[in-house]
C-alpha cells in the first residue's frame, strides 16, 4: 500500500531528490545519526542473538522431546486385544508424535542387552523365565513436551493401565526454561525498540531544526506535505536499514564461529546439542531483522515529522 502511495505521489526526479536529501540529512547530523544507527544496531544485534539462542534452544528441546518417552504399563492379565484398544486411543491423541509397542519378551531382551551385556552367564541363569512378563508397554513420544502431564492424566484414567512412567522433571524444566528465555528476550527487545524509536525521533527532530529555514522556503514555494516530509522519513528508513544490516553481518560471521567453538570446546555435549545451520537461522533472521530495522526507522521518523512539520 505504501509502495503504491509513493509511486502515485512521486515522479522519478522527485524520488531521486528525496533520497539524496535523506542521505544529506544523515550526513549533516553525523553525530545524531551515528548514535541512532548504533542504538538500532544494538537493538537488532540483541534481537538476532536472542533469536538464534531461542531457535537453537527450541531445536534442542525438539530433539529431547523426541527422545523422552512416556511408558505405559498394563494390569496383570490384560489381553492383547485390550492392549491394542489402548493403542488405538493413544494413536488418536494429537499431542502424540509416535508410539510403539514393546512386548514382555522385547522388554526382557532390551533389559538383558542393557544390564547383562558381557555377562551371558548371569542372564542365562534365568533360563526361559521372563522376569518382566508383566512389563509389556507402550513407549509414547510427544509432539510437544509441555502437554505431557495432560496426556499422563488421560492415560492413567484408562482401564487396564497399571502405571504410567514419565520424566516430569525434564518436561517441566525444558518448558519453563524455554518460556523464560522467550520472555526475557521479548522484554529486552521491546525496551531496545523503544530506545531506538526515541533516538531516531530525536535525530529527525534535530534535522528538522537544522533545516527549518529550508522547510519554510519549501512551504512558501508550494511544496506538498509529502515533498517536505519525505526526506526525513527516508533518513529514518536509511538509519533503520543501516542499523539492521551491520549487526546482521556481524551475527552471520559470529554464528559459524560460535557453533564451531562450542562444538570443539564441549565435544562431550555433541550428542545432546545439535545446532541449526546458519542458513536455516538467517533465512528468517535477515528478512525479519531488516523489516524490524526499517519499520522502527519509518515509525520513529514518521511520527516525529507529522508532529513537527505542519505545512
Amino acid at each position: 500500500m505504501m509502495y503504491r502511495w509513493v509511486v502515485q505521489t512521486m515522479k522519478i526526479s522527485t524520488l531521486g531528490y528525496t533520497i539524496k536529501q535523506g542521505i544529506k540529512n544523515i550526513w549533516t547530523n553525523k553525530m545524531f545519526s551515528i548514535a541512532s544507527i548504533a542504538t538500532m544496531a544494538a537493538c537488532i544485534f540483541m534481537f538476532g542473538m536472542f533469536y538464534s539462542i531461542v531457535v537453537n534452544f527450541q531445536h534442542v528441546v525438539k530433539d529431547v522431546e523426541s527422545s523422552v518417552a512416556i511408558t505405559v504399563f498394563f494390569d496383570e492379565g490384560t489381553t492383547q486385544d485390550q492392549i491394542d484398544e489402548i493403542g488405538q486411543k493413544i494413536a488418536m491423541r494429537p499431542e502424540v508424535s509416535s508410539f510403539n509397542y514393546v512386548s514382555a519378551d522385547e522388554a526382557w531382551e532390551e533389559y538383558k542387552l542393557e544390564y547383562f551385556d558381557g555377562d551371558e552367564a548371569a542372564a542365562a541363569s534365568f533360563g526361559s523365565d521372563n522376569p518382566l512378563s508383566d512389563k509389556a508397554n507402550y513407549e509414547i513420544y510427544m509432539e510437544d513436551i509441555s502437554q505431557q502431564s495432560s496426556l499422563v492424566s488421560y492415560l492413567e484414567g484408562q482401564d487396564h493401565v497399571s502405571k504410567v512412567r514419565q520424566s516430569e522433571m525434564v518436561a517441566n524444566t525444558l518448558t519453563d526454561f524455554n518460556r523464560l528465555v522467550s520472555i526475557v528476550s521479548a522484554v529486552i527487545i521491546v525496551i531496545l525498540i523503544c530506545v531506538a524509536v526515541f533516538l531516531i525521533s530525536n535525530t529527525v527532530r534535530t534535522g528538522i531544526a537544522v533545516r527549518k529555514e529550508e522547510i519554510g522556503i519549501m512551504k512558501m514555494i508550494g511544496a506538498t506535505d509529502f515533498f517536505v516530509r519525505a526526506p526525513f522519513i527516508v533518513e529514518g528508513i536509511l538509519i533503520g536499514a543501516i542499523g539492521a544490516i551491520i549487526p546482521l553481518c556481524i551475527l552471520y560471521g559470529m554464528y559459524g564461529k560460535i557453533i564451531s567453538y562450542v562444538a570443539n570446546r564441549f565435544g562431550f555435549l555433541n550428542n545432546l546439542l545439535t545446532f541449526l545451520p546458519a542458513q536455516s537461522v538467517f533465512q528468517i533472521l535477515v528478512p525479519v531483522g531488516l523489516v524490524l530495522g526499517i519499520g522502527i526507522g519509518y515509525i520513529g521518523s514518521r511520527a516525529t515529522v507529522h508532529k513537527h512539520i505542519n505545512v
Binding site: 522556503i217 514555494i221 508550494g222 505545512v311
Partner: protein, 228 residues
C-alpha cells in the same frame, strides 16, 4: 485577480492588525502597499499566502475563495504566487542555479524542464554568468535577483514582494525595482510592500497606504486619483 472584502485580522482580541480592509487588484496591475511598522503590511502578505486566516471577511485570489481551499490544496494554490522577501531567504549551502532549480524541484518538475528553464530565468535577472556562485559570494542586489528568479521560475500569475529593497543600497534598490517593473510588463501582477517612499513615488504606480490596520488611501501616482 486579488479581492479583499471586509477583511479583519486580530492576533489579540480587540487589537486589530487589519480592520475592514477592502482592496481590489486587477490582473496585470503593479501595486505598492506602504505604511509604518505595525500598520498591517506583513499581515496582509501572510493572509494572501494563506499562512494566516482572517478573523472575518473574504479573500479571493485567482477566482478562489481562500477560506474554501482545503489544507491539502494550499501548496497548489501557493504555486500561483511568487514571493520575494527583504532577507532574500536563499539556501546558503546551494549555488545560484540550485536555488532557482529548487522551486522547480519542489513542484516535481522534470529534470528536462529544470535544465531548460533555469538558465533562461537567470538570463532574465542578469545572473547567467554567476550560476555557480553561492549566495555569500553575491551582493545584496544579486541575491535579491536570485530570489526573484526563484519566485518566477514556476510562472506564477502574482508576485508578492515584502520589502524587496529593504536590505539594499539605493543603486541596487533601483535595479530591483526596474526588474520588478519589467516582470510586470510581461503580464505578472506585482504587489510590493515597501516603506521606501522615494522609490514608491518615483515609480508612479498605484499606492495603497495602511495605517494601524486600516486602508487610509488608495491612489494612482502620476495619474488620476482613486482614493478610498
Amino acid at each position: 485577480m486579488i479581492t479583499l472584502k471586509d477583511v479583519n485580522k486580530s492576533y489579540v482580541e480587540g487589537v486589530p492588525a487589519l480592520a475592514d480592509v477592502n482592496i481590489q487588484i486587477d490582473e496585470g496591475e503593479f501595486v505598492f502597499v506602504v505604511g509604518d511598522s505595525g500598520s498591517g503590511k506583513s499581515t496582509l502578505i501572510k493572509l494572501l499566502l494563506k499562512e494566516l486566516e482572517p478573523t472575518s471577511g473574504t479573500i479571493v485570489i485567482n477566482d478562489k475563495v481562500l477560506s474554501q481551499i482545503p489544507h491539502r490544496q494550499v501548496p497548489k494554490f501557493r504555486r500561483n504566487i511568487g514571493c520575494v522577501f527583504q532577507d532574500f531567504r536563499l539556501l546558503k549551502d546551494r549555488n545560484v542555479y540550485e536555488n532557482v532549480a529548487f522551486a522547480q524541484r519542489v513542484i516535481s518538475a522534470p529534470n528536462r524542464s529544470i535544465k531548460e528553464k533555469v538558465p533562461k530565468m537567470l538570463s532574465l535577472v542578469g545572473l547567467a554568468a554567476k550560476y555557480k556562485s553561492k549566495p555569500n559570494q553575491l551582493s545584496g542586489g544579486e541575491q535579491q535577483r536570485v530570489a526573484i528568479a526563484r519566485a518566477l521560475i514556476n510562472e506564477p500569475k502574482i508576485l508578492l514582494a515584502d520589502e524587496p529593497t529593504g536590505n539594499l543600497d539605493a543603486n541596487n534598490a533601483w535595479e530591483i525595482m526596474k526588474l520588478l517593473d519589467e516582470i510586470n510588463q510581461r503580464g505578472t501582477t506585482v504587489l510590493v510592500v515597501s516603506h521606501n517612499m522615494e522609490i514608491v513615488e518615483a515609480m508612479k504606480k498605484r499606492v495603497i497606504t495602511l495605517q494601524q490596520g486600516h486602508v487610509v488611501s488608495d491612489v494612482q501616482m502620476g495619474g488620476a486619483d482613486d482614493e478610498n
